[in-house]
């Protein structure tokens, strides 16, 4: 097994490589990194009161606690999480250090690091029933210690019409504001990392979740033959999203224009 310092050096190098990949893949527009978040309609009232996103905190998130968002260009891929589509932007200065977990090397370095740095948590992860707790603590520690602002990774949940697992990327954006040095993670509190959030889309689809995938329930019966329901037949909504966002930004307290989206 390699020395812990060697692994740390490799991770630092990987962060430098990841930054280059990220800037090329997701270039800011007007000095803003445009992002989306979809959630269930039950969260809408709370969102409209503050127009801020809430940090996801708990054991069931791929890279630990943070804001789970998608880049604007992959706008279909996280619609499985709810009918309400929110758009906002992240200041590129807030995503200086990024980590590419979509490639094998990024995953391997993380796995090597946790095995060489955490006696108790690694034991909990590998030899007890508390692996979900240990996973959360390890992922949070990793991102906090390396000061990683954003992890980008492949979707790890699936629907054949909405998600292109090889092409799409999801983001876990860090926000450790208010977190004590001895806290193992965040609380589900409001974040200011995604700025000027606006409600822009209503997804005309329902999903049924199983262990394996999210099954879409309306789309297959809405006219398009099921054989054509794949990611390759999707319309690009980027410009419509941008237009709707700009309209809503200037509408103030007037009711927002909502784009109704269906495949």
């Amino acid at each position: 097994m390699r020395q812990p310092s060697d692994v740390e050096n490799d991770i630092e190098s990987w962060i430098v490589d990841s930054e280059k990949t990220f800037k090329t893949s997701f270039p800011p527009k007007d000095n803003k990194l445009w992002v989306l978040k979809y959630f269930s309609a039950r969260f809408l009232e709370g969102f409209l009161n503050k127009k801020r996103l809430v940090i996801s905190a708990g054991q069931e998130y791929t890279w630990g606690d943070g804001l789970y968002i998608t880049p604007l260009q992959h706008h279909y891929s996280s619609m499985i999480y709810g009918r309400i589509g929110i758009m906002g932007w992240v200041d590129p200065q807030d995503v200086q250090r990024v980590y590419d977990a979509s490639k094998r090397k990024g995953i391997q370095l993380y796995q090597e690091w946790i095995a060489t740095h955490y006696l108790v948590q690694y034991r909990l992860l590998t030899t007890t029933i508390h692996s979900a707790h240990a996973n959360r603590i390890l992922r949070n520690n990793f991102r906090r210690l390396f000061k990683i602002d954003l992890v980008f990774f492949r979707p790890d949940q699936y629907n054949r019409a909405y998600i292109a697992p090889r092409r799409d990327r999801w983001f876990a954006l860090s926000d450790w504001a208010g977190v004590h040095a001895h806290s193992t993670g965040q609380t589900p509190s409001f974040s200011d990392k995604v700025q000027k959030c606006e409600w822009i889309a209503l997804i005309e689809e329902e999903f049924e979740r199983s262990d394996l995938l999210f099954k879409d329930l309306i789309g297959p019966h809405s006219g398009q033959p099921i054989i054509f329901r794949s990611v390759f037949n999707r319309q690009d909504l980027t410009s419509q999203y941008e237009q709707t966002y700009q309209q809503n930004l200037v509408r103030g307290s007037n009711p927002p224009n909502i784009l109704r989206v269906r495949l």
Binding site: P4, G58, E60, L119, V120, Q121, L145, A181, H182, S183
Partner: protein
């Protein structure tokens, strides 16, 4: 469970629900967000805990030992994590409860979280003061192991190893300060454990890093 206070009963029941995986993730997220906003009150201010947060956390800290033992692991985890977030809700008497939660089961997760809460309490207590190492909130854990007449010397070493590993995992200035204190105490008192605390630490030297690691290497003379 023999909880007689309605507020405490409902607080515990709510956390049981938020940590129950048979409730859908979306439902738990929704209720967690609602609870969070209620606990924070009207402000996002973190330094002074809002009274609602203080009252909610007292539901856990003021439980009797037998009620404490009746809680699920997930409820302990939720409250201990939350205590690390808001150490200002704890007072001096709560150290005893946290030390008890460290020892009451041999569950490493609970121990890890209880230790974090103790260190958070210690840091909060001595915020702005120069040296807090000798009066650390963690000292009762160390002395608890040493004074436990039910443990053989061999078992005490196992307990000390686990304590050391937990502190190394936590990897904060406070954790390293505690390790230094334990090492100094062992050298001074000559407890005679086999292996000694110094030898245990030497076997972990490859895991030490950062400022704390440098300090410990210096202390061990390596």
């Amino acid at each position: 469970m023999m909880i007689t206070d309605t507020f405490v009963y409902l607080a515990i029941k709510q956390i049981e629900r938020l940590t129950d995986t048979s409730v859908s993730q979306e439902q738990r997220e929704f209720e967690s967000q609602q609870l969070e906003q209620l606990l924070r009150g009207l402000s996002d201010e973190q330094l002074d805990a809002p009274s609602s947060l203080r009252r909610f956390m007292r539901s856990y800290l003021d439980l009797s030992i037998s009620d404490f033992e009746g809680l699920t692991l997930q409820v302990h985890v939720w409250f201990l994590e939350r205590l690390s977030h808001a150490p200002q809700v704890m007072n001096e008497e709560d150290i005893e409860k946290l030390v008890w939660s460290y020892f009451f089961s041999t569950n490493m997760l609970i121990r890890y979280l209880a230790m974090n809460a103790l260190l958070a309490h210690n840091q909060n207590r001595f915020r702005g003061l120069e040296d807090s190492s000798m009066t650390s909130s963690v000292n009762p854990v160390f002395s608890g192991i040493l004074q436990d007449k039910g443990l053989s010397n061999e078992d005490k070493v196992l307990e000390l190893e686990e304590l050391i590993d937990i502190l190394l995992d936590i990897n904060s200035d406070q954790a390293y300060q505690t390790l230094e204190t334990i090492l100094i105490e062992d050298r001074r008192q000559r407890y005679g454990f086999e292996p000694s605390i110094e030898q245990i630490l030497r076997t972990r030297i490859s895991y030490l890093r950062g400022q704390g690691g440098e300090r410990l290497r210096h202390l061990l003379g390596v």
